[in-house]
């Protein structure tokens, strides 16, 4: 009995146990099914997502910076090129004690306070993970010295980079411009232009001049390398490579030698010169003096040098040729003469008697001629040759400001020329509308009178005046001024800049002949620039001009000796040659140079001699004692 009960209990016990075992089995089965479903979810349903995640884990896209295009002159002379060099770079994010690190490094290589200042300025400009150059152009010995000790300095790297080099440095500074480190402003601009991805690996961007204006051509297309990396970011292998496309080379319209001649012709003078080929608009020389060393800017300029350049009274950073605005002075007279003939206000033979001043009818105010006592009997031809102010005071008054504005604007005054360099300014061709808007004042007849000799509100840039001169030289047919002759892709061939014929002013040939012959006479004995064509085997047409820096009070006389150098008059000279078939037209400005005939004209002559004859001149010495005699 007892035994039976025990047996029965035992069986019941086994039964309950097996029941629980089966329940456990069910539990196991359900849990394993959950696992299987999870695997299915991850490996089938979400596979694409995780596949992408795995790839983005392991694949880095590394940009390959393209070689920047070269800049050549019209004869293939290299004006901007690349060379590779070593830099000492520091990753700021990996360095805790920057000053300590620099102090340590300076035991290995020479680090000047300038280098440190420049580096610190860089740090404030662009906060990225990248490395920043402390020193560039290391010598092989310096590289070896640092490499041997590099393990001591985490965050310090030696990198091989391509550098920009300007063989003609300050001779072409304003023309070529320079590249500099990409800063936040550049990044913003690139993002706006949707070009940021093309600059992923780039350190430099064109900042001024041709480098800036043709940035798109010069930069090229960034290549990419897909690199497999491990978890610590070390490259394991290259998966694919899209080669970069080098930037296009630029062939300029400019002649490097001519440019050099023109720069040197200025000697110590400040000023600007723009020379154009009037038959096609090519810029032959483009000078702004003084220049600067563009290589200072490539790796970021240190504050001291920057302040020095920026605060210099000579304003070397100002591109005078493109952005300098000056009263045209008497260089406006040939254009005024054409306006007078065009509107019939003056006939070629109409003469006036010049007492040495002009008075508006009903006014006692005297508008003085530059020559005390006047030029006597003056017709249009003579008015240009001797630069008679009285003649143009009257002409302006009779023409009226509206006609003057309308006619002069045909020559591009008061407008940008559209030169292919960024930053051009428009100058100023005044009109009553402009004055009302700008000063909320009415236009006085006296305003017209001073505008007639290129003073008053008139402002021109050297580029503008050169353009106007070229239009005149080319008998009223204007061509778009341009600096780039041809864009040359690295693959070969070239895309020449289309010569753009802008307009033809259809000037009466008789009028042209009169004005041009008078301008030729300007450079002959008796003219205001008689030195210009002395001994020249070709014919030169020109016109001098003086731009007042400070106003002279009524009844006072301008005396250069009494006023400081920076307040002396600017000297202008516009010219083209050969006069009968012009191949070069230019505007020359010599700041505080006094008289155009004595300072600006000789510069023009040297440029023309070189361009037309291949003659290399001697540099001009600064003449400070000849400015006393103000003649125009």
């Amino acid at each position: 009995m007892n035994r039976y009960v025990e047996l029965k209990n035992h069986q019941r016990e086994i039964y309950y146990f097996r029941l629980r075992l089966v329940l456990s089995l069910g539990f196991v089965a359900v849990m394993l099914l959950i696992l299987l479903l999870r695997f299915f979810y991850l490996q089938v349903i979400r596979h694409d997502y995780f596949h992408t995640m795995a790839d983005s884990n392991r694949i880095y896209v590394v940009p390959i910076v393209p070689n920047r295009g070269l800049i050549l002159d019209r004869n293939g002379v290299v004006m901007a090129k690349n060379y590779s060099g070593y830099t000492l770079e520091i990753a700021p994010t990996k360095v805790k004690d920057m000053d300590g690190l620099i102090a340590e490094l300076s035991r290995l290589v020479e680090i000047t306070p300038k280098d440190i200042k420049r580096f610190k300025k860089l740090l404030t400009e662009r906060q990225t993970l990248e490395t920043m150059p402390l020193l560039s152009q290391l010598t092989d010995e310096e590289v070896a010295r640092i490499s041997a000790q590099q393990y001591r300095f985490p965050g310090v790297e030696i990198k091989a980079r391509l550098f920009r080099e300007y063989p003609y440095t300050d001779v072409t500074s304003h023309l070529i411009g320079y590249v500099g480190r990409i800063n936040q402003k550049d990044i913003d601009q690139l993002e706006e232009d949707d070009a940021a991805s093309n600059y992923l690996g780039s350190d430099y961007i064109g900042k001024t001049g041709i480098e800036q204006s043709y940035e798109k051509d010069l930069h090229g297309k960034t290549g990419f390398e897909q690199v497999e990396v491990d978890a610590s970011g070390r490259a394991v292998r290259v998966l694919s490579r899209t080669a970069p496309k080098s930037g296009n080379n630029l062939m300029l319209t400019l002649d490097a030698k001519l440019q050099e001649v023109a720069e040197k012709a200025f000697g110590d003078y400040r000023g600007a010169l723009v020379a154009l080929d009037p038959t096609n608009g090519e810029v032959l020389a483009f000078v702004s003096k003084p220049g600067y060393d563009p290589s200072l800017f490539i790796d970021g300029i240190d504050t001291d040098t920057w302040d020095e350049l920026n605060n210099s009274p000579d304003t070397p950073l100002n591109n005078r040729a493109l952005r300098g605005q000056y009263p045209p002075g008497s260089t406006i007279k040939p254009f005024m003469a054409l306006a007078g003939l065009y509107y019939g206000t003056r006939s070629p033979t109409h003469g006036i008697s010049d007492p040495g001043y002009y008075m508006l009818p009903g006014s006692r105010h005297q508008y003085r001629d530059w020559k005390v006592g006047g030029h006597g009997s003056v017709d249009m031809f003579k008015s240009i040759v001797v630069s008679c102010d009285t003649y143009y005071y009257g002409l302006a008054n009779e023409l009226g400001i509206d006609n003057m504005h309308s006619y002069l604007s045909r020559f591009g005054f008061g407008q940008k020329t559209g030169l292919d360099m960024e930053g051009e300014v428009s100058g100023l061709l005044p009109s009553p509308e402009w004055k009302a808007k700008r000063y909320n004042q009415i236009w006085y007849p006296g305003d017209t009178v001073s505008a007639g000799i290129g003073q008053g509100y008139n402002l021109v840039t050297p580029v503008q005046l050169a353009f106007a001169t070229a239009i005149l030289a080319n008998d009223g047919v204007a061509f778009q001024p341009h600096l780039v002759k041809e864009v040359q892709p690295p693959s070969g061939g070239g895309v020449p800049t289309v010569i753009k014929r802008l307009f033809d002013l259809k000037i009466d040939p008789a009028n042209l002949k009169l004005v041009k012959s008078a301008m030729e006479a300007v450079t002959k004995p008796g003219g205001t620039a008689s030195v210009a064509s002395y001994g020249a085997p070709y014919r030169i047409a020109g016109k001098t001009g003086t731009a007042q820096v400070i106003a002279i009070k009524q009844g006072e006389k301008y005396d250069a000796k009494k006023i400081s150098e920076y307040n002396r008059d600017h000297a202008w000279f516009i010219a083209f040659a050969p006069a009968d078939k012009p191949r070069i037209a230019m505007a020359v400005l010599v700041e505080n140079g006094g008289h155009g005939g004595t300072t600006a004209a000789p510069i023009a002559r040297k440029v023309m001699d070189y361009y037309l004859l291949g003659k290399i001149p001697q540099p001009l010495q600064k003449v400070t004692d000849k400015t006393g005699d103000a003649s125009d």
Partner: protein, 367 residues
């Protein structure tokens, strides 16, 4: 000739050929996978081969032990384990990575919690066997105390993974011993109610790991990194896998702890869903064999012991795979029989030794 055959028969006498084949399969998978996970390090593979040999040897010894020996060992093992666990809390304990789990015994450092993986279910099974005839609620209560004290000590070390596994193995004993449903459901409700309190007991890193389960991307480079990289490895493996030695997550160092706790991610990445199903099949095979042995076990003690070992083995597998595939928090449980490491291999194989002993000694044991 006769001798050799006899020797072979004697050698194999207490081994279960079915389990042995499956365990051999695991050994092979472990070595092959470890070669990939360690980036072709023969050192690792050889070292693991050594672990396997030792573990198989231990299994053979235990398999040949009569069950009453095993029962006689239950109390001393448990007491020894408890003493060692308490010693860990004294200055003799060795701390590493913020956890005090080890004990320096001069020759080597040992991890007493590993011993408890066998000792706890053994003790409980022994206790139930002893009171089989007169089982009362009180006995279940005492067994629960026997379980919870070491589990609490281990959780405090902290070693969440091990305490969960031991807790599970003990719970399986209680469950199979017939713990009433009312108590189980009541405790579950009580546990749910006290969850906030338990939560406050957890270490910060444990809380983080649990939080990360819900959203590992919260801290993708910190605490969630393991889970995310594991899921990426598994998911990017797809159906067929990237191929042996071709896992990018594995071979480019993205996968952390890939020879130990996350070795399953290596398998998953290189062999895909198909591979996972095959590996899961191997586990199911072993678990299934465990169930058969359990069902056929002849005594109360052996039934509880075999059931607990089998279900604990399953729990190991589930927790590790769940952790790697991101449905469970990262608690530090290796993939059974595959992850690199001697200790867990030895403990598991001791368990299988017990299973084999149960299976092969039953004819000799009176009911």
């Amino acid at each position: 000739m006769m001798n050799a055959r006899l020797l072979k028969q004697r050698f194999m006498q207490h081994l279960d050929p079915v389990l042995l084949i499956a365990l051999g399969g695991f050994a092979l998978v472990s070595l092959v996978l470890l070669y990939s996970a360690s980036d072709g390090s023969w050192m690792r593979v050889l070292s693991q081969a050594g672990n396997i040999v030792v573990a198989f040897g231990a299994m053979w010894i235990v398999a040949n032990m009569p069950l009453h020996w095993l029962m006689r060992l239950a109390v001393p093992m448990y007491v020894l384990g408890m003493i060692l666990l308490l010693l860990v809390m004294t200055p003799l304990g060795v701390t590493s990575h913020g956890a005090t789990r080890w004990l320096n015994i001069g020759l080597a450092t040992i991890q007493p919690s590993e011993l408890m993986k066998i000792a706890v279910p053994l003790m409980m099974a022994w206790y139930f066997e002893k009171h089989e005839a007169t089982l009362k609620l009180r006995n279940y209560f005492i067994a629960t105390i026997l379980l919870l004290v070491p589990v609490a000590l281990i959780a405090k070390q902290p070693d969440l993974g091990t305490s969960i596994l031991i807790g599970a193995s003990g719970f399986y004993v209680l469950f199979l011993a017939g713990l009433s449903w009312r108590i189980m459901i009541g405790s579950a409700l009580a546990a749910a109610a006290s969850a906030p309190f338990l939560w406050s007991m957890l270490h910060d890193y444990q809380r983080h790991r649990i939080m990360m389960l819900f959203d590992p991307s919260q801290d993708a480079l910190g605490k969630g990194y393991h889970t995310i990289q594991g899921m990426i490895a598994v998911g990017s493996g797809g159906i067929l896998g990237k191929g042996y030695l071709n896992g990018t997550q594995t071979h480019l160092d993205f996968l952390p702890e890939r020879t130990t706790d996350f070795i399953f991610a290596v398998w998953s990445e290189e062999f895909g869903l198909i591979g996972n199903m095959l590996l899961l099949g191997l586990y199911i095979f072993v678990i299934g064999r465990g169930f058969i042995i359990t069902a056929n076990a002849s005594t109360y003690f052996t039934r509880l012991m075999a059931g607990s070992i089998t279900l604990t083995f399953f729990t190991y597998t589930f927790v590790n795979m769940g952790m790697v595939s991101g449905i469970l928090p990262v608690v530090g449980v290796p993939l059974p029989l595959i992850s690199y490491g001697g200790t867990s291999m030895l403990t598991l194989m001791l368990g299988f030794g017990i299973l084999m002993s149960i299976h092969t000694h039953k004819k000799l044991v009176k009911t």
